[in-house]
Each structure stands twice: as C-alpha cells, then as structure tokens.
Symmetry: D3
C-alpha cells in the first residue's frame, strides 16, 4: 500500500531515462541508487535535484571531500540514516578516513550540545559579533 | 526577571575565575564572551564544556578550520544564531574565506532539502550501503 | 522489555472502549490502528487526542483534504514515518492524487532548503513584512 | 502588516471572554499573557488548548513542578524562547530553584549530544531493550 | 562584523542583476526583498534558488495557494520567522484568508503533538499501511 | 559496508578497556551496551562522554530519577529511539512508574504543540518575562 514505488532502470523513459544515464556516466557507476529511483516519481524534481547537486557539490573554494563531510554533518544533525550512510561513503571516496569521520561525529555532537546550551541560557550575541 | 545573569569577570571566583583565565590565555583574547559568562552559572558545566571543546576542536585527522566549518554547518542546521556567528568568526580566524562560507551555506541548505526528500519518499537504504 | 504495549480491542474497557467504538463509528472503519492502541495506555490522553483531532481536522475555512495535506507536510518536516504513511492515506481518502503528493514533497523539501538559507544568511525581516 | 493581532481583554467577547476569565480565576492572575491573546484569534483553539493544558499539567503520578521542568526541557530542545521563559517562571512558582534549572540545562544539553552520537554512529538497539 | 551583507539593487551586476530584474518582472514587484539580496552573495545559489522556486511553486496538481499554505506549514514546523511571514503574505496574495491561516496553525500544532506521541510511544506501522 | 563496527569487550584494550571496566563496576552491570561499543571507535570521545554523563546525571539539586525523566523527554523531542528506550529503562531503575512515563509523554507532546503555536503566531515575550 505504499504510495510511491521506485522507478527501476528498465522502466525509465524520457527525462527519467536521460537523468539515469547522466548519473551513471558522470559518477561512473553501474546502477542507480534508491534515492534517484524514488525521485523519479516526479521527473522535474529528479532533474532539478541532480542538476543542483552537481552545482553545489563541485570543487570550488571548498574541496569536494570537505563538502561531503559537511553533507554528512548536516545529515547527522537531521538524523537522516540514508543520507548519513550514502554521504559517508561518498566522503570516503573523496579521501576521508575513518578517523576523520569519527572526529566529525565528535564535532557534530559537541556542537549539538553547545547549541542547546546557548538556547537554554538564551545567550545574547556579543557586541563584537554584531 | 531573567532567571540567569552573566557572571562578569570581576565577579568570578574559584573555578569560574580559573576557567576564565585559562580561556583568555589559551585563546589569546582579552575578554570573556557571553557564552562562557552564562555557563558560569554552573561552574561544573563551565569547566566541563571548556575542557570538552578543547579536546574536540584540536587538530587531529581533521584540521581546525574544517572542524570549525562543521561546527558552523551544524549550528545552521539547528538555527542557532549565536553559534553561527561565533563559529563563523572562529572559522575565519582559522583561514576560512567568505567564499568558503558561502559554499558551506549552499551545501547545508541543499543537504536539508535532500534529507527531507529521503524522509518524505521514505527511501530504503540500498543493499550496497548495508 | 517494552514499557508500553498496545491495548487491544478485546482488552478495552470503560473510557478506552468508548473511544474505540466512537472511532470505528465516526470513521466507518472495522478496526483500531496502532496509534490509538498505544495512546490507550493513558485513557485521558486517548480521549483528549481523539476529540482534538476531530475538532482540528473537520471542514472549516480549509477543506479536509487540504488539512490532511498540511498534516503530511508537517510529518515530513518532522520525519515521522508512521505519521507520513497514515496521513498520506487519509489525504488520498479525501481525494488527494499521487501527483498532488509528489508536488507536496517537492514543496516541503524546497521549503526546508530555503528555511535553512534564511537562517544561515540570517536574513533580516523586510520592513514591509513587519 | 502582521496577519494576527492580539485580542486584548477589553476586546474579548463570548467564548474568548469566558476563557480569559477562567484563566485569571484558576491561575489567580490579574491579566492575560500574550500567548492566550494570540490564540484567541481562533476561539476553538484557545478553549481546547486551555482545557488540554489543565488536564495535562495537573498533579498526577508526576507532581506539578516536575511537569513544568519537563515542559522547560522540551522547550529548550525546540529552542522556543517564549516557552522557555514562561515555563521556567511557572517551574519556579512550583518550587524549582535556580540550581535545579541550571542542572536541567546541563541534562538537556548532554542529552542533545548523546542523542546525536547515537544517530551519527547509528547505534543498534540492544537486544535487552527490545 | 557581519560576514555577509546584502547586495543592494544598485550594486548588482551580471547574473545578480539579471535575476533581480527577472524577479521584479515575473512577480510584478518594485523592489527586491532581503532574502534575494543575501543569496546574491553567491550568484549561482541565487539563480538556482530562483529557478527552483518557480518550478516548484507553479500551479500543477496542487494550486498555488495550497502550495503557499504548505510552505507556511513547513516554515512553522521549522520555526523560521522570516519564512512564516513572507509565505503567509504570499498565501494571502493567492487568496488565503485569515481564517484559513488560523486553521492551518491549528493543524500544524496538532500534527506536532501527535508526531511526538507516535515517536514517544514508538508506535509500529500498521500492517495495512505497509 | 558499515564504516564503524562495535568494539566488543574482548577486543578492548588500553583506555577503552579501562572505561568498559569502570562502566561495569560503577553501574553494576555484567556487559557493555551498544552505545559504548560504538563510541569506543574514538577512545577520547568514549572517555569524555562517560565522564560527562557521570557528572551531569549524578544527584544534585535534582534527584537522579528526575534527571532521567528529563533525558527521556529530550530524547522524545529529538525522536531518538535508542535513547528513549535506554533512558526509560534507566528512569524505571530509579523508581519511575509506568504512569509517570505515560504522563511524561503527555507533557512532552503537549509542549510540542504549544511550542509550535507560539512560533506560528509569533507570540512576543510579555514584558513581565523580560
């Protein structure tokens, strides 16, 4: 009774098929992961998300590994299991070590604690930060 | 009618005074920011948080700038204004450029969008990620 | 070692039994779903929640389908899987199509992205909005 | 250009006036706080919320002070400034000391850190907890 | 000491200027709001967000007013003040009445309560929903 | 393909082994739960978290049961299943009854509703709370 089902590669046509082909080519992978196969339920969202991710995650002032690490950090803050897993693997592909990921977890968790301390004590912004 | 007030430097005694001195020395700053002055309402939390932050944020497998960027990213995900401001400045001190912070914002925001797409479509974890 | 177990229909007595009967009658369903069977651990909460939901979700200035769509949107923002599933089905019963739900997901996810952009850039409220 | 304005006591009629009177009587206060004056924009929500709060917050297996402390803790987890302030004061009226509130903050913040550690490391539920 | 400042209309050049002109034309407004003036710090994000919003928010299976209402609901769930204000006004422009917005608030808040009830009681998904 | 695996007791050496022994002794338990076995991937985080929890959760102005109840409440607000389960059991060990936990859930859920009402209506802090 699921409302949405994955659009498998052999079911893909038109824009969905094009995006699937582009993902496989650009990422040099042999198959499409579940994320894209669910987004394919709305081809415009599939295409837009794929294009946006390419723009946002490409090397710029920040390198690709750092961007993936930030992606993992946000996914942890949002408790998104799928996102933590897939972007941790992406970070590893970009060169992140297990030690880096363990330290990342420590930073994310500590930030969560001090974020809450700030809110709980309702700390006013220092004049030097304004 | 605020329940907690800041413990100003000239009011600090004992453990609070020691931590204040240590912060100023180790960070090479001339005054204590509001965050610490609120935590000082509970000296054990003040001391523990200061010690934990030093341990967590010191250079390890990840360099200090990357750790500060991750701190900023989590603070953005949690919408903590004070934390965004203070850690953005800390990141800049560690060498982060304005361009890096702008790209960070793009990654954080995009991650928030795809985190939600994953949850909304209830994407199952791919067997290759298990 | 679960702390709470579901109160099954054949175990229901008193206020719980009355609410169960009322749910089945008003919703024209043959059995009680797990949500209510867990709430029944505290009969006052069961009754209050059932009464509140009837008041909040009834047709008013907004029609019932739109209310269910909003319920789904909030459940997505909160990543509550049970709530997404049960209210998506409720929305479908009120006439929501699969296309509507796919567009809803796009709006929810986009809103999550721009909400974060606003927080990250700390956008000030425009004077025309005050 | 605010969409909703507070319904002041001298503007209150019908159900709103009744609820206002009931709040002042039961809480033994001389005026209505802003929370209720905003809810009054929808009299049904005003009445329902007032009735629900009385039921939920009354002494039961948990005493009233503990309930207010839990309310404060959740408000801190949700970063709701108004709620932190108003329920901290309510907790104080029920006998909570400043020391209790400072310890509460430490627990809330620590819980936020370990909650995130659990999510980040994707800790599986121990079989003894199932 | 703000890290980012708004790019005012008279400072806009190139891609930023083009997007500003397009927003004013398509939305039939005389000036650019703060959201866009902050995004302009990263022209690619400005352009991508503007294009994405147009795609996501245009009439489809859901009408434009319903989409704006959903945007408001998510912004409330995320406690984004700027977003609540700007999209409430957008919803009103699309025909949403004050009564609709008051009912929306009731639904959003009720959904937040039951979402938490589900998580707290760890309600299992009913087999009929699978 | 998990990035982190649990460090089992028979694999523990050095600091990890010491912390494991200390947990078993101080908590009077026969084995280490999964939470600690995952944290052990980074011994410093393991040790720091164990020390912090002992400091934060020990009897002070608030008794240990109340602290555990607050821990459960925050874990519910954060939807952390593992944390809800493990700290509910800890609260029971400290004397919390099933009735107390059911009332706790009602307070947490109600707080979530009114927190959102406050944000949605953008209620201004009353001057008496300032």
């Amino acid at each position: 009774m699921a409302i949405f089902n994955m659009i498998e590669e052999n079911e893909a046509t038109g824009k969905v098929k094009e995006v699937y082909e582009d993902i496989k080519k650009k990422r040099n992978v042999k198959f499409i992961t579940n994320f894209w196969k669910m987004l394919a339920n709305e081809p415009d969202t599939l295409e837009r998300t794929w294009n946006s991710l390419q723009q946002v995650m490409k090397k710029g002032a920040l390198d690709e590994m750092t961007k993936e690490l930030i992606y993992v950090a946000v996914s942890m803050a949002n408790s998104c299991e799928y996102c933590i897993k897939s972007h941790s693997i992406a970070a590893k592909k970009q060169g992140a070590s297990k030690e880096m990921l363990a330290e990342l977890i420590a930073v994310v968790s500590m930030a969560n604690e001090t974020n809450r301390l700030v809110e709980a004590y309702q700390v006013k912004v220092d004049s030097i930060y304004e």
